[in-house]
């Protein structure tokens, strides 16, 4: 459905761009690759800096003031993140380096807890490689089978498909939002079906947590993985949330300093949550910056962010649909897209599209988007992908359209 005048007016305005140094410093830059990594507001970069200028000390085990302050900042961040995703208990928030590590942790530690010969792990065909290869690996290690939920022609996982989750399934792991198609899965339904079958439900929230209000209670899942760098925080910090009962039952993943209660030559007693899963010195600067990134989003309000980004996604999908030489890969309806829209310029290789757009300082992504099985399933080798965040506005989409018309001209005289 095309945008109303009011809706259009609201995305012609942009009160956010000025907060983002890279965008503010490059007025001509059209950044439509937030699904790869977002930009960071000044306040977030400042928070990391402040950490190193005032609290810079190893957060755990220290008895002096700097160290104690660093610990307190880390624990405040944990509490805020827990609240932000609707988790009951900050101790259920595990800091990792990125969503990939979160998913590796889940796959390996849960796999060792739950998987035996002949058991099954179920994922969807739209998974990012980071929610796919770790399951291939642990299935191979435990003698389990990896099976897939496929998409119908409407890019949905149908009821029939969900019915394939059998009692042999011990783990179901799916993405909430596809990083290629931009479509959302009905996590509540999938989690319910998983639990019915007696399986644990893991959710890859890398493309959802930055964009839509998240409530793990309502989703009904057992684990949620996401990355700071896709939600206005710096690179190098990620999160895994899991239910206390499962986290307590699971063996640790990385081992070493700070994650133990006691160590002898031949054994160790693990520390309580969350330390048990946080070996070695944590990324203190990244943690406080993620805290500040969430504060920035909360300051705007996730409902406002969600609404604005939905309008941007609709405007993007509409604009692409209106170009006769563009094929959208995924649903045409803008309403179905969260953040990302994949497309091709007819007859032009996506890499050429991206290079030609770059010459007009329009940044999009081209390739398999770390989702090769999905692309194969869709009969594609690679696609273009444009993705939006709250700091985009209608002019970015106009500039993309101009750039694509130029691409078409270059290739078709």
């Amino acid at each position: 459905m095309s945008l109303t005048e009011n809706e259009l007016a609201s995305i012609r305005e942009n009160p956010y761009r000025a907060d983002f140094p890279l965008l503010a410093g490059n007025p001509g830059l059209v950044y439509l690759d937030s699904a790869a990594t977002s930009q960071r507001p000044r306040s977030v970069l400042d928070a990391a800096l402040r950490f190193y200028e005032t609290m810079n000390a190893n957060a755990l085990r220290g008895l002096y003031r700097l160290s104690v302050e660093a610990t307190a900042a880390t624990e405040e961040a944990r509490s805020r993140i827990a609240r932000f995703i609707g988790a009951a208990d900050p101790a259920e928030i595990i800091f990792t380096r990125n969503a990939s590590e979160s998913l590796n942790l889940a796959a390996r530690s849960l796999g060792r807890l739950l998987l035996g010969q002949g058991d099954e792990v179920v994922i969807s065909i739209m998974e990012h490689h980071s929610n796919l290869i770790p399951w291939q690996q642990i299935c191979a290690e435990r003698g389990a089978t990896l099976s897939y939920l496929y998409l119908d022609e409407d890019y949905r996982i149908s009821e029939d498909e969900l019915a394939k989750i059998s009692p042999r399934a011990k783990i179901v792991s799916v993405t909430q939002v596809s990083n290629v198609l931009g479509v959302a899965n009905d996590i509540a339904a999938i989690a319910a079906r998983a639990h019915e079958a007696g399986a644990v439900c893991v959710v890859d929230g890398a493309q959802s947590v930055p964009h839509i209000a998240t409530d793990v209670e309502k989703l009904g899942c057992d684990f949620l993985a996401f990355s700071g760098h896709k939600m206005l925080a710096p690179m190098g910090i990620g999160v895994l949330w899991g239910t206390r009962a499962l986290l307590e039952a699971m063996p640790p993943f990385l081992t070493g300093g700070e994650m133990i209660d006691s160590v002898s030559e031949q054994g160790a007693v693990w520390a309580p949550l969350p330390a048990k899963f946080e070996a070695g010195t944590q990324n203190g600067g990244g943690i406080v910056a993620l805290d500040e990134a969430i504060a920035y989003l909360e300051g705007i309000g996730m409902a406002v962010v969600e609404r604005r980004e939905a309008l941007l996604a609709r405007a993007l999908a509409d604009a692409l649909s209106a170009l006769p030489f563009i094929d959208i890969v995924g649903p045409a309806e803008g309403e179905r897209h969260i953040g990302s829209v994949a497309f091709n310029v007819r007859g032009v290789h996506p890499h050429d599209v991206a290079s030609l757009l770059d010459m007009h300082t329009v940044c999009i992504r081209a390739g398999h988007h770390c989702a090769e099985p999905l692309l194969k399933h869709l009969g594609q080798n690679s696609t273009c992908r444009a993705s939006v965040a709250l700091y985009n506005d209608a002019s970015d989409i106009d500039r993309l359209v101009d750039g694509l018309e130029n691409v078409w001209r270059v290739f078709n005289g």
Partner: protein, 156 residues
């Protein structure tokens, strides 16, 4: 800095000359608490009078000055209290050192233990100050008959 006062003469006297650090002969019950990150170990014992109040309290073990002084001060405080009253005092103390309870009137019930109030500004030492109190609370809440050991503070 408020913490500068912590290691004062009154506090150090509990460290150097504890009144209640000895092996109790005829304990009604004993309970062991450890603080794994510090290596502190403490066994706390009480003897209940026929009336049900705590008649004698004592501890053994090793640890830092804060855990030792705290144990000595606590022993003095809980004598002649009922187990229920003692549990209430333990909770009050823990609220104080965690900075959750700051009302001076309320804290008055802790008597000399108010000495340790500034621990709330030293989060890394809260576990040291709490060790005795958590051990006692756990012992009394288990209704005390056991003399099994348990690790207090293990999963806090």
């Amino acid at each position: 800095m408020a913490e500068l006062d912590l290691y004062n003469a009154q506090f150090m006297d509990h460290v150097h000359n504890p009144d209640y650090k000895y092996q109790m002969e005829d304990a009604t019950c004993s309970h062991e608490g450890i603080n794994p990150s510090c290596g502190d170990e403490l066994t706390f014992s009480i003897r209940l009078a026929d009336s049900g109040t705590i008649e004698e309290a004592a501890f053994t073990g090793r640890g830092c000055a804060i855990s030792q002084a705290s144990a000595d001060i606590m022993s003095d405080l809980v004598i002649d209290k009922t187990p229920e009253e003692a549990v209430g005092l333990c909770r009050l103390f823990m609220g104080m050192v965690r900075g959750e309870i700051t009302d001076a009137d309320e804290l008055e019930r802790l008597d000399e233990a108010v000495l340790l109030r500034d621990i709330s500004h030293m989060p890394a030492r809260v576990k040291c100050a709490e060790l005795a109190w958590r051990t006692l609370e756990e012992m009394l809440e288990k209704r005390c008959p056991d003399t099994a050991s348990a690790e207090v503070g293990r999963h806090g």
